[in-house]
């Protein structure tokens, strides 16, 4: 029997429409807007000013702390202005507007496609390169990767897990990367292992991607310390804690980090970015984005420069379908709807999903019938119906005792609720309030 995590989980329709589409390089945009806060942690500090000439890959904002990341220019051209622009939810965020001229790359970047397999850097040098390249978790959480690779004192990483699960329906960007850049990924994994000083790595892939599994098994054959673990298809297996449970059988305690059970998890796209950064000197300024949806003419996977507006991606995939109700940043389970289409692609944008109006509309909320389906599907073993009520009634202390902070916001509860209750919305609100309470207590 295939491995999987034990508690909860759902299996929504997969709808991997763009799985057979090779990654295409999207045409260069005319202007880009690159926000300086694309990661968890402090926003980077802008180091360019209006009128500066930029090369592709040039640093435009410097990391402003340990938990922060560098931001590089994704295009060559002139800085139009340093000003606020919209982020995913429509709030203004500081960023750099660049007018694109030509496509001149920084000379240090190796643009050749040839594989560079010898690793001649030590652990510290690899880490420094990852940090310089501004690499963050590309699965969507955008946590700076160098922070993850430096375990706190007294903790030791034992195993590196590579997250090739891509359990969100519709998304296929990681799947395509595994198919097209398997060799690079294996080198990326070796680099990460060396940086972490571990001698074991496992790639977790769900069983609905047999081509990726067989491809990577063939490539990993020569490396006895890298194993490929096929997993049962179950959402949210791509969650860090769920993946650790599924692959290693270890359970991350409540409130603790994965490193407490000796595991470090990185995403496929992140691993590929690590390869490019270390072996090719290429900072993180482009990523693969899936543009998809049931009524989209041409669902595809595009390699996109950071800062390109999503309207250009939608145009490339055949334009906005007429019956489109929502454009979602990410997958249908965890993604948030975009406020408008003039929002740039950031490091955390893994997919753009256009949902038909019929499917995207929320149904009418009805009273809870105490069927406890939300309890049985919660992968963290929480009681969503209770957390929602506590949050609604603003009883934050009790919500904290019921471990609201352990919620991974996967949305399985809302997905499964027969009364269409907005469970996750309220739990997320509770998480925010309880988090603020805990922080204020620490001060």
């Amino acid at each position: 029997m295939l491995k999987s995590f034990k508690i909860g989980g759902v299996h929504p329709a997969e709808n991997k429409l763009s799985a057979s589409k090779a990654i295409e390089v999207l045409a260069l945009p005319k202007t880009v807007f690159i926000p300086v806060g694309q990661h968890i942690g402090a926003p980077a500090e802008v180091v360019v000013k209006k009128g500066d000439k930029l090369m592709v890959g040039q640093l435009i904002a410097k990391s402003s702390g340990f938990v922060s990341a560098n931001i590089h220019s994704s295009v060559s051209g002139t800085v139009k202005k340093v000003e606020t622009g919209p982020d995913t939810s429509g709030y203004p965020k500081m960023g750099v507007y660049i007018d694109v001229e030509d496509d001149l790359w920084d000379e240090q970047i190796d643009r050749s496609t040839e594989l560079k397999s010898e690793i001649n850097l030590d652990s510290a040098a690899i880490l420094a390169k990852i940090q310089d390249a501004g690499i963050v978790g590309l699965g969507g959480a955008t946590f700076p990767t160098h922070v993850k690779l430096m375990p706190p004192k007294g903790m030791k990483a034992e195993v590196l897990l590579i997250n090739g699960v891509e359990c969100e329906p519709y998304l296929t960007s990681d799947h395509r990367l595994m198919l097209e850049h398997g060799e690079e990924l294996i080198i990326g994994i070796q680099l990460l292992m060396k940086a972490l000083n571990v001698n074991k790595a496992a790639i977790g892939i769900e069983n609905n991607k047999p081509d990726a599994i067989s491809g990577l098994i063939k490539l990993a054959y020569r490396h006895t310390n890298i194993s490929v673990v096929p997993l049962k298809v179950k959402y949210p297996q791509g969650g860090e804690k769920q993946l650790i449970k599924a692959v290693t059988g270890r359970e991350v305690p409540s409130g603790a980090l994965p490193i407490s059970v000796g595991a470090v998890v990185t995403n496929i796209a992140t691993t590929f970015a690590v390869y490019e950064a270390v072996q090719k000197n290429k900072p993180l300024f482009e990523r693969v984005v899936t543009v998809t949806g049931k009524s989209v003419k041409n669902p595809s996977n595009y390699k996109v420069r950071i800062g390109t507006t999503i309207s250009e991606l939608i145009e490339a995939a055949g334009g906005l379908p007429e019956n489109c109700g929502k454009i979602i940043n990410g997958g249908p389970m965890m993604g948030k709807a975009f406020a408008n289409t003039e929002i740039p692609v950031t490091k955390g944008t893994s997919g753009i999903l256009m949902m038909p109006e019929k499917e995207s509309k929320r149904s009418e909320t009805m009273p809870c019938i105490r069927c406890s389906r939300c309890v049985s599907v919660c992968p963290m073993g929480l009681e969503p119906y209770l957390l929602m009520t506590l949050s609604e009634k603003q009883i934050w202390e009790n919500a904290e005792n019921e471990k609201v902070m352990d919620c991974i916001e996967c949305g399985s509860c809302s997905y499964t609720c027969p009364a269409n209750r907005p469970l996750l919305d309220y739990i997320r609100l509770g998480k925010g309030k309880v988090g603020a309470l805990i922080r204020s207590r620490k001060q």
Binding site: P86, S89, Y91, A339, K361, R362, P422, D425, Y426
Partner: protein
């Protein structure tokens, strides 16, 4: 038969008397002294337990008043000055007089002024909506219209107007407890000094964008042009971050600022209609969509002019 009843009554009476004696001594032994003034002060307070004073309830506020021995920084917004002077009498001290205040909503972005750019079909809660997106119009500072303030109000003083999609405060009922101020994720609600005859004049906008951007997203946004600032003789108006603010303490309610505002962002409430300005009105009237509520019992206009 009678003896049984007699014995029963007697036994029970003896048990009762004995228990009473024991309880009396126990009560004496474990007696907790409480300042009797706390109870007196509590009866003086409105008993709404709204938390507007910053304490958990009226009892907690009464304890704070008695224990502190003075009334600086202690004020019951619901009871107001009358209630506080009553409290001061009990404690034998002077009460600080404060101007009565009332909540005002600093957003006038009704449906016609703010075109909708998207929609939100999640739970009807401003807190959730604000955490997910900037709003269903181009203005990220404006009212979300989900009514968290209405839910927060214990006094039934704030209601959503279905036509405008904005909350409206009932001045009669509002006690300035500040529950709505805390509930609003966009900090649109301000507790403002109640002017004479409930007259108020304020900038009904919180948009801190530059003029062009603000105007584009809302027809009645403050664009920070500083015309009102120049017009004001009492230095009551300040412009910070492209947004004008009228200081209620300095404002003399002269109404000079409102006509000069190019976007009609300054709202006058409870003023009698201006008679003298009628000559100018035809020019500005067609583009003046703000509804100024005129009190039914409006004073003779000559009193104001």
């Amino acid at each position: 038969m009678t003896t049984i009843i007699l014995y029963t009554v007697l036994t029970l009476s003896i048990i009762g008397v004995l228990s009473a004696i024991v309880l009396y001594f126990v009560a004496q032994k474990f007696k907790v002294y409480e300042d009797p003034r706390i109870g007196q002060v509590e009866t003086e307070l409105p008993g709404a337990n709204c938390g507007g004073c910053g304490f958990a309830g009226c009892r907690a506020f009464a304890e704070a008043c008695v224990n502190k021995g003075e009334l600086t920084d202690l004020f019951c917004p619901v009871g107001g000055n009358d209630c506080m002077s009553g409290v001061a009498n009990i404690l034998g001290i002077e009460a600080e007089k404060k101007d009565p205040r009332v909540a005002v909503v600093r957003c006038n972005g009704t449906c016609e002024h703010r075109p909708k750019t998207n929609f939100f079909d999640g739970p009807v809660s401003c807190a959730i909506a604000a955490s997910l997106y900037s709003g269903d119009t181009g203005c990220q500072y404006g009212c979300l219209g989900c009514g968290d303030c209405v839910v927060a109000c214990d006094f039934d003083a704030i209601h959503m107007n279905p036509e405008t999609g904005l909350p409206e405060v009932d001045d009669e009922k509002c006690v300035a407890c500040g529950a709505c101020v805390k509930a609003c994720p966009k900090t649109l609600i301000e507790l403002r000094k109640k002017g004479p005859k409930d007259r108020k004049i304020y900038v009904a906008c919180r948009n801190q964008d530059k003029g062009g951007v603000a105007r584009k997203s809302c027809a009645v946004a403050c664009i920070g042009c500083s015309k009102c600032e120049k017009e004001c003789k009492y230095d009551a108006i300040t412009i910070v971050n492209n947004l004008a603010f009228i200081d209620a303490d300095k404002c003399k309610l002269c109404r000079k600022c409102a006509p000069v505002c190019p976007t009609n962002a300054i709202i006058e409430i409870n003023f009698p209609p201006k008679k003298v300005v009628l000559t100018e009105l035809p020019v500005s009237a067609p583009e003046k969509p703000i509804e100024v509520t005129v009190p039914v019992s409006a004073e003779p206009k000559s009193a104001e002019l």
